[in-house]
């Protein structure tokens, strides 16, 4: 099975970096590689990864499933499920280079798919149903197929990750050949969980991707909370819960982005006591309703979606996060140096406050299938018999 490496622990912390161009103009992969490699000392070679948005413009309307598999058998099983459960418009191995220092590399393949809604269902099932279908499909494969994991599943985006230093993983996945309007990157120093290919960051579901420096000590609580809503944590790493929490709170429950961040990193009760009555009531409700979603422990996270990049710290700022802006570019990283290495003359450099999200969304209408979560969602999802059939039903094996 998967080789779970253990090395002597060195004192360090993970490194994260993210860039967004708010006009949707594409940024070469070399830029994010330079930034994350500037923080090389923050990792120990047990994990690195990249998330790129805008890399599949010709297949922008299909969910791009990046699949990681231990061997051909596992991959064939995924092939079979996808053939039954989706329309596959295109599939290919993810192009890689041979990197001498990377041993036992898994197989990587990408599929561009749509849920298999046939005849009437195509009319009844909307975008939400398609998203929910893909979430269930990903959970099903990750849980039920031995040795195969879907490591990203959004439209026009993809995640590339594995065990190695950021430079090695970039070389392996040919990151320098991609261009994206949002990039995030991670340099891992695993603390409590194994350094394995599936445990590298970013973690994703649909077009949500997240990189994280820190430890989610509430992992158990968060995981059980997410299970109530059908999310299965299979990747043996605390950060996985954050990706699913974002999907649940923001996409499914329709919380405005800012408020969802406050559910993850709530203000102290003493701060809530000082608020105006209406605000006080709101934040009390958030703490009561979303107790299971609170992230405890130190964290600096960057998360992205088809439309924005967000930086967030735990509420006592136990991990570093620095932001900068120049023109249409925004930068977020663990260290200021990681920004300055790719942006020599920023207009503004600042350190966000603990628990205060830094939200940067793209300008309206600059990318296909653009999402904005600033305002949250008003509309209620209608339930009817036909739409119930939009659900993903696991493959029955004879």
């Amino acid at each position: 099975m998967w080789l779970l490496k253990e090395k002597t622990k060195e004192i360090s912390g993970c490194g994260i970096s993210g860039i967004i161009n708010v006009r949707g103009e594409l940024i070469p992969g070399q830029t994010i590689i330079s930034s994350i490699c500037c923080q090389n000392e923050r990792g120990n070679g047990l994990g690195a990864g990249y998330a790129a948005y805008g890399i599949y413009p010709e297949l922008k309307d299909f969910y791009a499933l990046h699949v990681m598999a231990i061997d051909k058998t596992a991959l064939e099983r995924v092939d079979e499920i996808l053939a039954h459960k989706t329309f596959i418009t295109y599939q290919e191995p993810i192009p890689t280079r041979k990197v001498k220092t990377l041993k036992d590399t898994p197989l990587f393949k990408r599929y561009f798919v749509k849920p298999k809604f046939i005849e009437d269902l195509q009319r009844y099932c909307g975008e939400d149903d398609e998203d929910n279908y893909i979430v269930s499909l990903v959970m099903y494969i990750n849980e039920k197929v031995d040795g195969a994991y879907v490591i990203s599943s959004g439209k026009n985006m993809g995640v590339f990750k594995g065990v190695g230093f950021p430079s090695e993983i970039a070389e392996f996945f040919r990151i320098d050949e991609y261009k994206a309007f949002i990039w995030t990157a991670h340099n891992r120093f695993p603390t409590n969980t194994p350094g394995w290919w599936g445990g590298a960051h970013p973690f994703t579901i649909l077009d949500w991707s997240i990189v994280h420096n820190g430890e989610i000590s509430s992992y158990g609580t968060n995981r059980r909370y997410l299970e109530l809503f059908g999310y299965k944590c299979t990747l043996l790493t605390d950060t996985e819960v954050v990706a699913y929490l974002l999907d649940l709170l923001i996409r499914r429950h329709g919380l405005p982005l800012q408020l969802a961040c406050k559910a993850l990193a709530p203000p102290f009760w003493m701060e809530i006591d000082e608020m105006e009555e209406e605000e006080k009531e709101l934040y009390r409700a958030i703490r009561v309703v979303y107790g299971g979603a609170v992230l405890n422990g130190p964290f600096a996270i960057l998360f992205a979606y088809n439309g924005g990049l967000v930086g967030l710290n735990d509420r006592v700022k136990l991990r570093p996060l620095v932001c900068a802006k120049r023109g249409n570019f925004y930068y977020m990283a663990s260290e200021e140096a990681a920004i300055r290495v790719i942006c020599q003359d920023p207009e503004k450099v600042w350190a966000p406050k603990a628990g205060e999200p830094v939200i940067v969304e793209l300008e309206e209408g600059v990318i296909p299938n653009q999402r904005s979560y600033l305002r949250g969602r008003k509309r209620e999802v209608e339930e009817d018999e036909l739409r119930a059939e939009c659900q993903f039903i696991p493959l029955q094996r004879s």
Binding site: E41, E336, R340
Partner: protein, 247 residues
């Protein structure tokens, strides 16, 4: 004669090796350009040299050092002056988190704002009294577990007009030392049991002397700095947790 080095193409360990070698051969002044994220610069150096750094030095600048006077033209990252013993770090910019962590002596002068947990667990012994002066504002936990030394917070040169001068939990667990703040602070944001006090005569003399040196470093007008009243935060006991652990 001084050593001038463009650090941009070197790994930090190489830069530190060159610095140490130069100091060993008697160099008294070192100028580093192109610094970006180089860690542990001047770590553990015990000579009274002068250094100028252009760029953004990496984590733990001047940690454990005893003697050097470092001037940084740029911002410093987390942990600058970590456990430093003697010497001075002057920063013409912003400071990151945990500046002056467990500092035992010497001075850190920051022109602008600083991050979280600055001056955490500073300590003093006899004539060794570390000093951190911050020209801007500070994040939460300023002077947490402080055991000695002096922190002065001015709140003047800030890029965060919307923020309070200091964050939450200022001086939490403090059991020695003093924190002087220019202006007022919300009392409930102080660490448990702490209170602000007005300055006494000797306090005024103390901060005037320290601020004279600070103002000279940044060409600031001392009278302007002293125009506003200061408050003083001191521990209410030298054993704030004594009762919690004693049965």
């Amino acid at each position: 004669m001084s050593l001038e080095l463009n650090a941009s193409s070197y790994h930090y360990s190489e830069v530190n090796r060159i610095i140490r070698q130069a100091i060993f051969s008697g160099e008294k002044e070192i100028i580093l350009t192109g610094v970006n994220g180089h860690r542990y610069l001047f770590a553990g150096v015990t000579s009274e040299i002068k250094a100028k750094i252009y760029g953004t030095p990496g984590l733990d600048l001047g940690c454990f050092m005893r003697g050097p006077k470092i001037e940084v033209f740029g911002n410093v990252q987390d942990g600058a002056g970590n456990t430093m013993d003697e010497g001075k770090i002057v920063v013409h910019g912003l400071g990151g988190d945990v500046i002056g962590y467990a500092m035992r002596g010497g001075k850190i002068h920051i022109y602008g704002d600083v991050g979280y947990r600055v001056g955490i667990h500073m300590k003093a012994y006899q004539d060794k009294v570390p000093v951190i002066i911050i020209g801007g504002k500070a994040g939460d936990f300023l002077g947490e577990y402080m055991a000695g030394g002096i922190i002065i917070l001015l709140g003047m040169n800030t890029i965060y007009p919307e923020r309070d001068i200091a964050g939450l939990f200022l001086g939490t667990g403090m059991h020695g030392g003093k924190i002087y703040i220019r202006g007022q602070i919300k009392e409930k944001y102080l660490g448990l049991g702490l209170k602000p006090y007005p300055l006494e005569k000797e306090d005024e003399k103390e901060i005037e002397t320290l601020l004279q040196d600070y103002c000279a470093d940044f060409q600031m007008d001392l009278n302007e700095v002293l125009k506003e009243d200061f408050i003083k935060i001191v521990p209410y006991t030298h054993r704030p947790y004594g009762k919690i652990y004693a049965y």
